[in-house]
């Protein structure tokens, strides 16, 4: 067998389209998923001071359901299940929601570990200065909590980016869908999947570099010593 990458050239547009979809799904999911996780973690952290509320129990349930079921089932549930209940949903919207809910749940759990290791002294200093629980969470707890779990957070975002390949199953035109599409036309499976594998690898490395760049700025305080 000879490698023939020129057979891919006619499909450059498809590869680009798939790449763009995968990238924007990842970017939106990362931002929205982390934001969701922060909200979930904040509400669940409330149980520390005033016992578990109904809302924090429900959010706990959400986190457990997502973490204990396959992503593809979550995706199918949204895409096929919701229309069956009379809620129409497009493939792209279903993919986006599934990815955000997924990353949100895992990140909420990761973040919880970081939040729970906040020392009593930090909480008390904030309280003695008159900060409310929300103010204390935002200004005192959150950044050190993120810094403690940052490596896990990066890995989780990369997992979700790679896992987004599954959305091709509901015909979202992502990178994997493009690969399947091209392979079904030119029958050059090896070349197509080699190229797409390389692109995913580059995306993963790129995502990690972006996170590390942001982390160096956000957590500059750690460079002075052990904080």
């Amino acid at each position: 067998m000879t490698l023939d990458f020129s057979s891919l050239l006619p499909y450059t547009d498809q590869i680009l389209e798939g790449l763009v979809t995968t990238v924007w799904l990842t970017v939106v999911t990362t931002v929205a998923g982390i934001a969701l996780a922060v909200v979930v973690a904040y509400v669940r952290d409330g149980a520390r001071v005033r016992g578990a509320s109904l809302v924090s129990r429900l959010l706990g349930g959400y986190v457990e359901v997502i973490r204990n079921t396959p992503f593809i089932v979550q995706l199918f549930f949204l895409f096929f299940g919701l229309p069956a209940l009379g809620v129409p949903i497009s493939a792209t919207v279903a993919a986006l929601i599934a990815m955000i809910l997924n990353l949100g749940a895992y990140t909420a759990e990761i973040l919880r570990a970081g939040i729970e290791s906040t020392t009593r002294g930090q909480h008390e200093a904030a309280r003695a200065l008159g900060l409310s629980r929300l103010q204390s969470f935002r200004h005192v707890v959150l950044v050190p909590a993120f810094s403690r779990v940052y490596p896990s957070l990066i890995s989780q975002c990369i997992i979700v980016m790679l896992g987004s390949a599954v959305v091709s199953q509901i015909s979202v035109f992502d990178l994997t869908y493009a690969a399947n599409f091209i392979q079904s036309r030119n029958f050059r499976g090896f070349e197509v999947y080699l190229v797409v594998t390389a692109i995913y690898l580059l995306l993963a490395v790129g995502l990690r570099l972006v996170f590390e760049f942001v982390g160096r700025r956000l957590f500059a305080f750690r460079q002075g010593g052990s904080a």
Binding site: Q122, E124, A128, L129, G130, H139, P144, F221, R222, A227
Partner: protein, 242 residues
């Protein structure tokens, strides 16, 4: 009228009664040193004064305002009572100046430029002007504690509580923190300090309170208390620390 007025303060943790009826009045500008054995309830008493612990019985008044219950919000309380902890508890991710500016900006809603001016002023007072952009991890313990004092002062409290402010420090760093507290005392700041620095209690405070088993066992001017203790417990305690 006393600035701080505590009447019949009781506090238990479960079955353990830690404060068994504390009465104390502190005048504005007074420096009160609380001494006593470990476990006698000194920290708990201070923590009740700024409501980090909620007492079970009795009243705490600040000037003419009840400080317990719902009469004062945490934000108002922090502008009346400042606290310095043994372990500094600076916020590690914030620079020195941001540590000091945080509460004025967030709690008092002081405009940033004004908060910065106040922060620079209190940092100058504790001799930390040249470190305003450092992070806590880059500072020595003594420097961290001085920043913590500045952070409390930035809220312009009427009274400052210090719970063993120098106990976590290496011996050679104790002096710089005590000097800052002494300067505050000279300026007329009302101070209630739990301390094991007997020389400091003796030289700087106006009144020494000896706590024993959840009660104020003895109190009075430092000279009298240290030279003529009235109870065997205090005599024993003094003998054990000097």
């Amino acid at each position: 009228m006393a600035l701080v007025s505590v009447k019949d303060l009781h506090k238990s943790f479960g079955e353990l009664e830690v404060l068994k009826g504390i009465d104390l009045e502190v005048e504005a500008g007074e420096v009160v040193a609380i001494i006593g054995r470990s476990g006698s309830g000194k920290s708990t008493f201070l923590r009740c004064l700024n409501q980090l612990e909620h007492h079970d019985w009795g009243t705490i008044q600040l000037a003419d305002q009840r400080l317990d219950g719902t009469s004062m919000t945490p934000g108002e309380l922090s502008q009346n009572v400042g606290m310095v902890f043994q372990s500094f508890n600076l916020f590690p991710h914030k620079s020195v100046i941001d540590n000091v500016m945080l509460a004025p900006v967030v709690v008092k809603q002081t405009p940033k430029s004004e908060a910065r001016r106040i922060a620079e002023e209190v940092l100058a007072k504790v001799g930390m002007s040249d470190k305003i952009d450092s992070y806590p991890a880059q500072l020595s313990g003594g420097q961290q504690q001085r920043v913590a004092i500045a952070r409390a002062l930035a809220m312009n409290p009427k009274v400052l509580l210090c719970d063993e402010a120098t106990s976590a420090l290496d011996p050679e760093l104790v002096g710089e923190v005590l000097r800052v507290l002494e300067d505050l005392a000279k300026e007329g700041m009302t101070l209630i300090l739990v301390t094991h620095e007997m020389k400091f209690a003796r030289d700087v405070s106006h009144r020494v309170v000896f706590m024993h088993q959840g009660r104020i066992h003895e109190s009075g001017p430092p000279e009298t208390l240290f030279t003529r203790p009235q109870t065997p417990e205090l005599a024993q305690f003094i003998a054990s620390v000097v």
